[in-house]
Amino acid sequence: MTGRREVWITGVGLITCLGEGLEANWSHLQRGDPPPYDDKSFAPYLVHPLPPVNFDQQIPKKSDQRQMEPWQRIGVYAAGLALSDAGIAGKPDLLDATDMIVAAAGGERDIAADTAILTGMRKMAERGAFLNERLMSDLRPTLFLAQLPNLLAGNISIVHGVVGSSRTFLGEEAAGVDAVRIAQARIAAGQSELTLVGGAYHGTRWDVLLVFEQSGVALKGAFAPVWDRGPQGGIALGNMGAFLVLESREHGQARGARARGRISPVASDRNKRQPGDIEATLRREWGTIADQIDRAHAAVISGAAGLQPATAAEHAMLKEIGLPVRNTGTYIGHGVEAQFAANLGIACSVIEHGKLFAPAGTGDTGSSPPDISQVVVTSVGNWRGEALALVERVVWGRA
C-alpha cells in the first residue's frame, strides 16, 4: 500500500437516541446513564427511539420531507450535520465534486395498508386478483420512493446538493463497513478527494422487527448492556443517522479543514460464522494495524451488537488484543448499516477529548489511558460484517 494518501475525517454527523451531534452524544456517554429506550410500543421488543427532531433545520422544504419516510429523513438530517461539520454545506463548488457512498436497506412499508390487505384477504377466494386490486388502490406512489434503497442518496443530492457521484451499498452491517472501506480506499488511491459516507436506520417499526425476529435476534424484555443479554443475547434496534466526510489530507489542508481524525484502510472480510471464525477474522484484521498501535494511548470502540455467540467471540478476541474497551451499542442501540460510521464518529470524540467514556457491562474493560490518540473501531454484525479500522489523532507538523 505504499504511495497511498492519508485520509482524514473532516466532518461527522450523528443522530441517535442520545441526541444530535457529537457533543450531545459524548456528554451522555460521559455520564454513563442508561439510554432512552421504549419497551412498550413494540412489546416485548425493546427499541431506542429518537428524541424529537426538528427536521426543518436540515430539510427546510416541507415538500421534501413529505417525499421521504423516516429512515430517509434521519439520514438526510445526519448527512446535513456532517456536511456542516466539515464546512462544506452550502458550498456548491465543493459539493459538486463530493462523492457519496450510502449504506442502506430501504423497503419501509405502509403498515396500515399491509394489515388491511392481510385481514381482507382471509375471506377471499381469488386472492391474486384481490391483492392486485388492493395494491393498485392502497399503495401511495410516493411510498415506492421511500422503498428504493438509493433514494436516501437521491434525497441527499436533492436537499444538500451533493452531486459528485452517488452509490448505495446493501447488506446489513457489512454494507456499512464496506461503504467506508471503499470510500477510504478511493481517496487513498487518488480516485476521490472528498466523500460523504454513512447510513441511516429506522428501527422503531414493525416491518424491520419482523425481519430480525425471523432470525430470532431482536432483544426482548429488560434492558441490559450488550455484553450481558443472556445466553442468546439480543439486538436492540435503534434509530440512527451517521455520516462522515472523508477527505484527502492535501484537499483538507488546502481548504483549511479541521481534521477530526485520520482513518486507516478498513479491514473487512467475510467468514461462515463457524465456531472460531469471528475470532480468526478479527485476529487477521488486527494484524493489519497492530504494529501501528501505541498501547499507552490506544483503546477499542466495539461495535458488538449484543447477539450471542458473536458478542462473546468478539469479547474473547478483544481480551487477546488487550486494549481498554468501550461498546457503544449499549447506549445508542443497533443501527445496522449506520453502526460502523456512528462508531467511527464517536472514535473522533474519544481522540478529541483524549479519554474514554463510562463503561457499561462486563465487556467494557480497562480504564481510560491518558491522552488517547488512537482508537480501534470494530464491527461484528448480526450475521456478517466482521471488520476493524483505526482512527488516529492528526498531529500538525508531524502528520
Binding site: Q67, A105, G107, I111, D114, L118, T119, M121, E126, G128, A129, N132, L135, M136, L139, R140, F144, L145, Q147, L148, P149, N150, L151, G154, N155, S157, I158, V162, V163, G164, S165, S166, R167, T168, F169, L170, G171, E172, A174, A175, D178, R181, I182, A185, R186, A189, Q191, W206, D207, L209, L210, V211, E213, Q214, G216, S268, R270, K272, R384, G385
Partner: protein
C-alpha cells in the same frame, strides 16, 4: 519481463475475459446474441401470477429459468449464478470455487414478499385483524422453513459459490446498478487492490407489487397487446418501459494478468463517467446537464473524444422522459458527429432489466464490438420526429466498430456511462 501495460493516465488497463448473460431471450451468450441480432422480442404475457386488475400485464420474464414458487431472491440468485458460471468458465480464471478477486453484485432490492406475508398470516391464524404483531408470533417458525430474509444474502451465496475474495459488495444505484458493479471492479483493479474482479448485475424480481409500484408512477407501458410490440424506444408512440428480468456477469482482469496467463481478451473497459442529478427524485434536470456531464466524464476518463466513439448502447427505456433526455444528452456531447454514430436500445427486445440492465447492456455492447454487428432497436415503425438519431431501426447491421459507449440512468439522479473498446494491439 515487459513493462506493465498502462492507460493514458498511467493506470492498469482493465480487460474483460469472461461474459455471461441470461435474459428473457434465453440462457447464455450465443442464444441471446442470435435473438438480439435477429430482432426477437422476449416480452410476453405474465403467467407467473394473476394479472386481473393490473394496467400492465406483460413483462420480459426469464421463463427458461423460473420454476414454480421460486421467490424473487431465489430466482435472482439463480440467474446471477448462471451468468457468473458462464463468465468464469469462459475466462478460465482461478480454479473451481476459487475466484481470485472480489465480487461486486447489483441485486434487486429484496424484501419480504406478499407470498411470505400471506403464508405467515395463515400460520398465525388470528381471529381479529391480521397485523404485524401476528406475523411476529410465527416469524421464527416461518424462517425455519423458508429461510430468513437478509439484504446481503444473494451476495453471500454467490461469494460462497464462486469463492470470491473478501467481503462481497452488494450495491444499488437503481437502473444504473449493473454498470455501478462494473465500475467498482474497474476502480479496484486500477487501485491495484486486486488483479481480477467478478461484476454481476441480476434482477428477477417480478411480483405483483413490483409491477404496481412502477405502474403507479406511470413508468410502464400499458400497450399490452401484442406484448412483443410494447417496448419501442425512441418511437413517437412510446408509452413506458416493460419490466424485465435478467442477469449478466463480467470477469474483469488487469490486462497484464490476463495476457500473462494467455487468456482471451474480449474487450477493454477504458473508462466510466458519473454525475448525480439533484433536480428531482424520478426526473432528469430539464437542461440535461448531469447526463451530459456523465457522458463527458466517461470520455475524459477513457482519454478519448467524441470522434472516437463508433456505437452507443442507449439506456433507451421507451419512456417519454428518458428517451427525450438521452437524445438531448448524446446530441449535445457528440454534436454533428452523432449523425454517424449508430445508437440502439437492447430494451426494445429484452425490456428493462432494472438493476441488471447496466451489466446486461455492457455485456451486449462488448459482444457488439466483438461481432462487428449492431443489434437493432425493434418496434421502430413511428419515429419520434424530435429525435434525430440513427437508432438502427428494426434490423441489425454490420459496422466497423472500434469503441463504444453504454449509458445507464436511474431514479435518484443516477447517471453512469461506460466506455469500452477492442483490445489494443
Amino acid at each position: 519481463m515487459a513493462a506493465p501495460m498502462r492507460d493514458k493516465q498511467g493506470r492498469p488497463i482493465v480487460a474483460v475475459t469472461g461474459i455471461g448473460v441470461v435474459t428473457s431471450l434465453g440462457v447464455g451468450k450465443s442464444d441471446n446474441w442470435a435473438k438480439l441480432t435477429g430482432g426477437v422480442s422476449g416480452i410476453r404475457r405474465i403467467s407467473r401470477f394473476p394479472t386481473e386488475g393490473l394496467r400492465t400485464t406483460i413483462a420480459g420474464t426469464v421463463n427458461d429459468v423460473y420454476r414454480d414458487q421460486m421467490s424473487p431472491a431465489e430466482l435472482s440468485e439463480r440467474v446471477a449464478l448462471l451468468a457468473g458460471e458462464e463468465a468464469v468458465a469462459e475466462s478460465g480464471i482461478g480454479a473451481k470455487g476459487r475466484f481470485p478477486g472480489p465480487l461486486y453484485l447489483a441485486p434487486p432490492p429484496l424484501e419480504i414478499e406478499w407470498s411470505d406475508r400471506i403464508k405467515m398470516a395463515e400460520m398465525a391464524a388470528s381471529d381479529a385483524d391480521t397485523g404485524y404483531p401476528d406475523l411476529m408470533r410465527v416469524a421464527r417458525e416461518f424462517a425455519a422453513r423458508h429461510g430468513a430474509f437478509k439484504f446481503g444474502i444473494i451476495g453471500e451465496h454467490l461469494a460462497e459459490h464462486f469463492g470470491t475474495a473478501g467481503s462481497p459488495v452488494s450495491l444499488n444505484t437503481a437502473c444504473a446498478s449493473g454498470a455501478s458493479a462494473i465500475q467498482l471492479g474497474i476502480e479496484a483493479i486500477r487501485r491495484g487492490d486486486c488483479q481480477a474482479a467478478l461484476a454481476i448485475g441480476a434482477d428477477a424480481s417480478l411480483t405483483p407489487e413490483s409491477l404496481v409500484r412502477f405502474s403507479l408512477l406511470s413508468a410502464l407501458s400499458t400497450q399490452n397487446d401484442p406484448p412483443e410490440r410494447a417496448s419501442k424506444p425512441f418511437s413517437k408512440n412510446r408509452d413506458g418501459f416493460v419490466l424485465a428480468e435478467g442477469a449478466a456477469a463480467l470477469v474483469l482482469e488487469d490486462l497484464d494478468h490476463a495476457r500473462a496467463r494467455g487468456a482471451r481478451v474480449l474487450g477493454i473497459l477504458e473508462g466510466y463517467g458519473e454525475k448525480s442529478d439533484s433536480f428531482h427524485r424520478t426526473r432528469s434536470s430539464p437542461d440535461g446537464k448531469p447526463i451530459i456531464a456523465s457522458l463527458r466524464n466517461a470520455l475524459a476518463d477513457a482519454g478519448v473524444g467524441p470522434q472516437d466513439i463508433d456505437y452507443i448502447n442507449a439506456h433507451g427505456t421507451s419512456t417519454p422522459e428518458n428517451d427525450k433526455m438521452e437524445h438531448l444528452g448524446v446530441s449535445t456531447v457528440f454534436g454533428e458527429r452523432m449523425r454517424g454514430i449508430p445508437i440502439s436500445s437492447n430494451k426494445s427486445m429484452i425490456g428493462h432489466t432494472l438493476t441488471a440492465a447496466g451489466a446486461v447492456e455492457a455485456a451486449f455492447t462488448l459482444m457488439t464490438l466483438q461481432h462487428q454487428r449492431v443489434p437493432p432497436t425493434i418496434n421502430h415503425s413511428i419515429p419520434d420526429p424530435t429525435i434525430t438519431l440513427d437508432v438502427v431501426p428494426n434490423v441489425a447491421r454490420n459496422a466497423k466498430l472500434r469503441r463504444a459507449m453504454s449509458n445507464s440512468f436511474g431514479f435518484g439522479g443516477q447517471n453512469l456511462c461506460l466506455v469500452m473498446a477492442l483490445e489494443p494491439a
